[in-house]
Subunit: 141 residues, 2 copies
DNA sequence: TCTGTTTTTAAAATCATTCTAAACTGTTGA
DNA sequence: TCAACAGTTTAGAATGATTTTAAAAACAGA
């Protein structure tokens, strides 16, 4: 971690490596996203956070940025509910618990679930990735 | 299979067992859904099909029916893309290939993927189900 | 058949997300 | 340093899937 005094240097580096212009709003959002460990955020949550940090960023830019970050591999979009997108700052191989009542998403380390035999993908296709979502709730069995 | 002449008897039975009133539109939709093997449909697709079969069913009823059927376990909702819901007539334990370019969803038999060690669910929660989505595309590796 | 409850419906409303076109900012080269 | 252009941000409108509304229609039991 190299945040040697200059608060935006880490975010700046991340953007530079990704080939994205270091604009004011991208730098600010990158800080929120990547300087607090692994996170799962929706666009609305990120907007609330940036407002709380008194950054002026439009919702359109939040969406643009989340999508761009996903495209360059800085984020991973996790689809658990119709009509709401989560973005995960952990892009390494791993899976999720999804708490249906609260909407909470939790990482499961890649090696904590072992997927055995993966069947042959349909002809002409390549496996892009495997998503495993373990849906949990508070019901008594 | 007991479709002894009376075309709606199977659909009627399904609704009766589920405790849902056998209305004209529920019977018609149940026929479309359950008398053609395993299927994955969206609300719009089902609407198009019912129109093609010259049934008069509003889109609101299609949505109501798909949700009710899911609640009573006749259908399983599969979430693969933000902003579009698929309903699967196969409610047994199984998983899916999802073809990102075409939106095509294909079943993977439950025993064709072996999930090894499932980690302990978070305290106070029970595993509701495990969804595995194998995302495939046409890209050359 | 009558009556009360459920269901269906068209239309409006909602919600997350994307688009638009104009204003603004970052970068490059003179 | 500054002009000039491409890339970015923005407010607001637009979109698209889904849900809600409130009223009309259909179903079930007596």
């Amino acid at each position: 971690m190299d945040s040697s005094g200059r608060p935006y240097s880490k975010a700046f580096e991340i953007l530079r490596k990704a080939g994205l212009r270091p604009t004011r709003q991208r730098l600010g959002l990158a800080r929120l996203l990547f300087e607090n460990g692994d996170r799962h955020v929706t666009a609305e949550q990120l907007q609330a956070e940036s407002a709380a940090a008194s950054m002026r960023v439009s919702l359109a830019t939040i969406y643009n940025t989340l999508n761009q970050f996903s495209q360059v591999g800085l984020l991973r979009e996790v689809v658990v509910e119709p009509g709401r997108s989560y973005f995960d700052t952990n892009t390494s191989d791993h899976h999720h618990f999804f708490h249906e009542e609260t909407g909470l998403l939790q990482d499961i380390a890649g090696d904590a679930i072992s997927v055995g035999a993966i069947p042959q993908p349909p002809a002409g296709t390549t496996v892009e990735r495997i998503d495993i979502i373990v849906r949990v709730n508070n019901k008594v069995k």
